[in-house]
């Protein structure tokens, strides 16, 4: 885990970019599944929450009215799989009126320039 924004992101083996909110589509669930399986295969996995994907991290989530399971149980499993490198788009947070205090896990906010560097420095990137 890197300490503060401004320092250089430490590349993992795989970067999974999550851009969709918990409900409404299957994107977030299936993206998190890949991250968890890759970690189970011994890969170091970093997650980047971008755009509405940031809502995945909001505290106080429930399964919801659609009969879906929700994705918060998957997020709760990240630590068990040693996935603790979580980045979020700082601009995405600002646009949604959120701060890192609203999120259920510790994250590192990145400005746009740092996100470009993040994508460039990872050997593998999967976007969901």
């Amino acid at each position: 885990m890197i300490d503060v924004s401004g320092s250089r992101p430490v590349p993992q083996d795989l970067l999974v970019v999550l851009r969709h909110p918990p409900h409404g589509t299957q994107w977030l669930r299936e993206g998190l599944d890949v991250a968890l399986v890759a970690a189970a295969f011994g890969q170091r996995v970093g997650l980047l929450f971008q755009g509405d994907g940031i809502y995945a991290l909001l505290k106080g989530q429930q399964a919801g009215a659609l009969g879906q399971k929700g994705t918060h149980p998957q997020l709760a499993m990240l630590e068990m799989y040693d996935i603790d490198t979580l980045w979020v788009s700082a601009r995405g947070l600002r646009e949604r009126g959120l701060s890192t205090d609203d999120l259920m896990l510790p994250v590192v906010p990145l400005e746009a320039s740092a996100m470009v560097e993040l994508l460039q420095c990872h050997p593998h990137t999967l976007i969901f």
Binding site: Q26, E30, D33, V34, V37, Q43, H124, L126
Partner: protein, 131 residues
């Protein structure tokens, strides 16, 4: 020569992505590279439907993927979790779930996400096609 893997998230015909992925795969082999693996995930699992029946004057996507396997040995891997949810079952899964018929046949293979990770690690390039 490079080993290529494709990750296909898009349903057939609903979006351009599946057609683009097949064209890309054909171009990979036409240029002397190896089209090692296509992994079907998310709505992309529908590309593996054995019951696909497009009009005769349209590209038959499932046949296109099967041709790649036949002529170039491309692995056609379908995520089992994404597939079962969406009704893609081979004979074994259909029997296990008490379904009246199956919808997925060889050379498509139901497999786990671990195979996606493996394809990513053992290929020189993995390219995602999404809607």
């Amino acid at each position: 020569m490079l080993n290529y893997a494709l990750l296909l998230h898009a349903a057939p015909y609903s979006h351009q992505a599946a057609l683009s992925a097949l064209r890309f795969a054909d171009t990979v082999v036409a240029n002397g590279h190896r089209m090692k693996t296509v992994f079907f995930y998310h709505d992309g699992v529908h590309n593996a439907s054995a019951l696909m029946a497009p009009p005769q004057d349209e590209v038959h996507l499932a046949d296109g993927w099967k041709r790649l396997h036949r002529e170039h040995g491309t692995e056609l891997l379908v995520c089992v979790a994404a597939g079962l949810r969406r009704g893609l079952l081979d004979v074994g899964e259909a029997s296990r779930h008490g379904a009246m018929s199956h919808s997925l046949e060889a050379p498509f293979e139901l497999t786990g996400v671990g195979q996606l990770v493996d394809a990513m690690l053992t290929s020189d390039r993995m390219i995602t096609f999404a809607p």
